[in-house]
Amino acid sequence: MIEFREVSKRFADGTLAVDGFSLQIPPHSTTVLVGSSGSGKTTLLRMINRMVDPTEGTVEIDGEDIATVEPVKLRRRIGYVMQNSGLLPHRRVIDNIATVPRLTGVPKAAAHERALELMDVVGLDRSLARRYPNQLSGGQQQRVGVARGLAVDPNILLMDEPFGAVDPIVRAELQQEVLRLQRELGKTIVFVTHDIDEAFLLGDRIVLLETGGRIVQTGTAEEILAEPANDFVAEFVGAARGKRALHEERIGDRTVLVDGLGQPAGVLDSEGGSEAGG
């Protein structure tokens, strides 16, 4: 379990990014921190691997205050996936994935064997192992980033808007991959995004943040949609704009669901269900 206790962060320029933030993040589930830019969500995420040290308060992992853990050691046991993959451009895919195991002294052959297995896990063809990152598509690079994050088999996986820079179709694909991986691996995933739909899709638990890391609402997607804590949440999740309020319209012999803005949201699954499609 990851626990934030009364954590604040004031940057050197005086900006108070996080103000008195407390949260318990349960293990083996996905917690999504969601908020607009300036909500401190990335700062909070980076406190977990000490890329940012809080100016006040403590962060604990399984009861251990991480301020007492050497940052490099801490980071090597926590997976980290970022936007734009952050891969080393001068290293081949297989060496990128094997980077941390190699640093911790795993022999090259073993590290490479493990890297190839991880390519299977994240759905990358092994034939890409000898490529350099800039020879891959954006979506493939993000898969490599995820594989690298999993290379030391960490309990915790931090994901900082990992799919923010890929096109919607690839993003949807990668989101499904994360759901599948989480079913198979059961990691403690902390995921940061500004996309509420992504948060609802991936999060077992969603933490909605306002400026300064202030928690507006915490809950499952269903809870937040059913009972938005205030107007801000309603606006953020789109309920206020009628985006989440669906009604039925008949088109021919099909029932189409239309949202409050008049945009078709999908087709209602008929009783038989056989002809339902995407």
Binding site: R46, R75, Y80, L88, L124, D125, S127, P133, L136, G278
Partner: protein, 245 residues
């Protein structure tokens, strides 16, 4: 025609007598000796500035001032300061001061030009600062460092010609000897040899640059003009397929 013929004849004689190799040896010893010393001084400082991001203004100021120093005057001044017996030291010092700014600039700009997210990611996955420097910043910054070494070498190889003024030999020796004696073909021939040497060194560094581009993809530009088509994997296709549930 006559001058060209005489010049070619002089060059042939210079090469034939073996004096070329002696003077070339002296010339290259001064050139590479001072560039090596400058590397030892400038690369650690440049890496420190590039890695920490601190002291850049100071470095820019010092290198700018050092570039403005006239090498010839500096060499003569140093000879008078360290004494005539220590002339090689004075010469080396002047050439090193000439070479340091370009190498320093190449070293720190090479590191500063690296995508910040790459370095941030390296740190976030658990590299130590030394590992970031040696495994990420040094290889990715090498191309610009070599560019700095290239311009330093070219400046020094041209300036070493002046070493003959304080009687240290090099390819400047036949050149300077020829001027008071009004041996135009000799002055012309010696100048041509220095120019050819500089061009050869430049070409050699160009070749090293091309090799580095092949060996170390920096991510700055795609290695191939077109990216290979994304090969959909089995899993990816499964995800794309509509689910009937």
């Amino acid at each position: 025609m006559d001058l060209i013929g005489a010049t070619l004849a002089w060059i042939a004689g210079f090469v034939g007598s073996g004096e070329l190799w002696q003077r070339l040896g002296e010339h290259l010893t001064y050139t590479f000796g001072s560039v090596l010393i400058a590397l030892v001084i400038a690369v650690p400082i440049g890496y420190l500035i590039g890695h920490t991001g601190k002291g850049r203004e100071l470095a820019v100021g010092i290198t700018g001032a050092a570039r403005a120093l006239p090498s010839f005057g500096l060499m003569l001044l140093l000879v008078s300061l360290v004494g005539v017996v220590q002339r090689p030291i004075a010469a080396y010092a002047a050439f090193v001061i000439l070479a340091v700014p370009s190498i320093l600039a190449g070293a720190y700009s090479g590191i500063q030009a690296i995508d910040k997210t790459t370095v941030d990611a390296a740190r976030a996955i658990g590299m130590t600062e030394w590992q970031i420097l040696w495994k990420v910043e040094a290889p990715l910054g090498l191309r610009l460092l070599v560019g700095g070494i290239r311009s330093a070498t070219l400046q020094v190889v041209a300036t070493v010609t002046l070493a003959a003024y304080i009687n240290l030999g090099g390819l400047g020796y036949p050149l300077l000897q020829a001027i008071p004696l009004r041996r135009d073909e000799q002055a012309f021939g010696a100048a041509i040899i220095v120019i050819v040497l500089a061009l050869l060194l430049d070409a050699a560094f160009g070749l090293i640059g091309v090799l580095l581009d092949r060996l170390i993809p920096t991510g700055a530009a795609p290695r191939r003009p077109r990216r290979p088509r994304a090969v959909p994997t089995r899993r990816a296709r499964m995800v794309e397929a509509p689910t009937a549930s």
